[in-house]
């Protein structure tokens, strides 16, 4: 039944009715239908208010509208465009400078939040219009933005890793207690942060190499020659275009690292700072401010309605025995660590199409992690593998949260199809990274062992 629901949702989503309402609506109807045959207990819907209120009252998720606000201000005031094009010009007269600027800014932004919705949306707002305007192919632009946006999950500090660290730490203890170890070794959020750093940076390097390769093979994707013809900019202009927004981004990241603000609060530092810069540069009017607020409202509402829809879906999925389904799958796990790990990764990948990070972290990981850890796997490595895997899943067409979010802010400039085609190379790069990490766990485990002993 649970499987059937999953398939039906995938089909109905293709019709093109809004994703959030489809997820929630189909799930509810399906539950109603199943309840007639005694296959679903409608009493479970009593939990709906608790779950939705949980989303409403989640302070960590408040980072989303704050980041979106910052992104919209930087877009509408054209600060983002000036930043990216000036940086692109500085990177030399060769084609593709702009896209490397996007990577650079994207990595900094990705570091400051770990919520996929926040980074993809912010990056999309800031860089998509500029890239398209300069003649970059929509596919390449969309792919680069989605891929950089999902990096937020793995480049610390990341809320996704925080949640995962919490769950893994308990699973690790559980596994050791079952083996009779009562002063267990611990795995903390700090270990995961350290473990994620090398794989995260390697991933960025892979993106860059791929982009260079593509630049060499099909330069036409990187804008026409005419638009590349920058005027030699004066030093003053360069400074005025680069300095304020770069300072802003460093301020956001710096306020977290210096302990002035939590990641959620840092987003407000960014938003207020962006507004200040725009006002000082006289690139923000009352009318523009109203537009900023309206856009922030629409994008925030879009992101959160998806979370609510996904929450309804996962409630029904569970009520139909989805958890038992997964449980049974793992109970008959193929022999050996490799087989078990492969199975777990595949299931998480598929679930990542529709279930959000929180849901997977709380539902699937506690189920499988104690088993895998008892088999002797390293908790840091397991955590990074899961995070990378989910990141890939969120990027994989036709359903992935990163894709939904970018499509949500791209207006009519880019179609879903173009986004799909654009991300595929990046999905392959991520899979490659997963395989590399699978073969060499030290990529994740080395740094924490050096830092924390």
């Amino acid at each position: 039944m649970a499987l059937l629901l999953f398939l039906i949702i995938c089909l109905v989503l293709m019709l093109g009715y809004p994703v959030a309402l489809t997820l929630g609506g189909v799930a509810f109807l399906f539950a109603l239908f199943a309840s007639f045959f005694g296959a679903f207990d409608m009493g479970l819907f009593g939990l709906l208010p608790n779950r939705i209120f949980g989303i409403l009252n989640n302070q960590i998720l408040m980072a989303v509208p704050l980041f979106v606000f910052m992104g919209v201000v930087l877009e509408k005031s054209r600060i983002a465009e000036q930043l990216l094009t000036t940086m692109g010009a500085l990177l030399g007269r060769f084609r593709g400078g702009l896209i490397f600027s996007v990577f650079f800014v994207g990595v900094l932004l990705a570091a400051s939040t770990g919520i996929v919705g926040a980074t993809v949306v912010t990056m999309g707002l800031m860089s998509l219009p500029t890239l398209l305007k300069r003649g970059y192919s929509p596919e390449l632009s969309a792919g680069a933005i989605c891929a950089t946006g999902t990096l937020g999950q793995i480049i610390p500090p990341s809320i996704a890793l925080v949640l995962l660290g919490d769950v893994l730490s308990n699973a690790y203890q559980q596994a050791q207690l079952k083996m009779g170890i009562f002063n267990p070794k611990s795995v903390s959020v700090g270990d995961l942060f350290a473990g994620a750093l090398i794989p995260g940076l390697m991933l960025v390097s892979l993106y860059m190499f791929y982009t260079l390769f593509r630049l060499w093979r099909s330069p036409a994707d990187f804008g026409s020659a005419i638009t590349q013809d920058y005027e030699p900019a004066s030093l003053a202009r360069v400074i005025s275009a680069l300095l304020p927004p770069l300072l802003l981004i460093f301020l956001v990241l710096g306020s977290i690292l210096a302990g002035i603000a939590t990641p959620t609060e840092a987003a407000s530092v960014g938003a207020a700072g962006a507004l200040l810069i725009a006002l000082l540069k006289r690139q923000m009017s009352m009318l523009a401010l109203k537009e900023v607020m309206q856009s922030t409202v629409k994008i925030t509402s879009m992101v959160f309605l998806i979370l609510i829809g996904a929450s309804v879906f996962s409630l029904v999925f569970r009520g139909l025995g989805g958890e038992e389904l997964i449980h049974n799958l793992f109970a008959n796990m193929p022999g050996g660590v490799v087989g078990a790990m492969l199975l777990v990764m595949t299931v998480i990948f598929v679930l990542g199409f529709i279930l959000d990070f929180i849901e997977i972290t709380f539902v699937v990981v506690p189920l499988v992690a104690p088993i895998l850890l008892a088999m002797g796997l390293d908790p840091v490595w397991l955590g990074i593998m899961i995070a990378l895997n989910l990141q890939t899943s969120f990027l994989t067409p036709p359903f992935g949260f990163a894709l939904f979010y970018l499509r949500g802010v791209s207006g009519d400039s880019v179609s879903s199809g173009q986004i799909y085609r654009g991300v595929i190379p990046f999905v392959i790069l991520q899979l490659l990274m997963l395989i590399l990490l699978g073969i060499w766990p030290a990529l994740a485990t080395w740094l924490p062992s050096v830092l924390y002993g």
Binding site: G16, L29, F45, L48, L56, P65, A272
Partner: protein, 168 residues
């Protein structure tokens, strides 16, 4: 009929504009929390909670507004290529079978939850927190109403396009 729909759309628009200011409020309040704590060593739980209330209000009360602006994302691989009439059909049926049941379910299942919070005048559990948790919880009903109001408008609009005069 048209008048009523116009009235509903007016409410949707007004809500959208109102919560727009909330986003600015959230930014400034959260910033103030940071400044108060870092520069003045003062906690500001009440301010922190106000920002959180506003945050909840933004996406619940403006769910309909977002729908009106067609900003709820779609998987538009197929949708984009089909005829205008087919699109009207998808939206008409979708509103009828997905939006309404889902919104009603949210409203009905949340009703007691919200009423209980009102009955006990639920307040924050934090030291120095706000005493209006029941208002925050009421946003669940706000989500339902906001979606249904705009849902009716969507149904009317797509119905009119599909069935011409019969709908009026």
């Amino acid at each position: 009929m048209g008048k009523l729909i116009g009235f509903f759309e007016g409410i949707t628009e007004a809500l959208g504009r109102l919560v727009g200011w909330f986003t600015l409020g959230m930014v400034l309040m959260t910033l103030a929390v940071v400044v108060l704590r870092y520069a003045f060593a003062t906690g500001a739980t009440a301010l922190q909670e106000t920002a959180l209330y506003l945050h909840g209000a933004v996406f619940t009360l403006a769910a309909g507004f977002t729908l009106k602006r067609d900003a709820h994302v779609r998987v538009d691989v197929f949708y984009r290529q089909c005829s205008e009439r087919t699109r009207h059909w998808i939206d008409f049926v979708g509103t009828l079978v997905f939006l309404f049941p889902l919104s009603l379910a949210i409203g009905l299942y949340s009703f007691d939850y919200v009423m209980n919070a009102w009955r006990i005048q639920e307040s924050s559990a934090e030291a120095g927190g706000l005493p209006w948790v029941y208002l925050q919880k009421s946003l669940l009903l706000g989500l339902c109403v906001s979606l249904i109001l705009q849902g009716l408008c969507e149904l009317y609009r797509h119905g009119k396009a599909l069935f011409g005069r019969e709908a009026c």
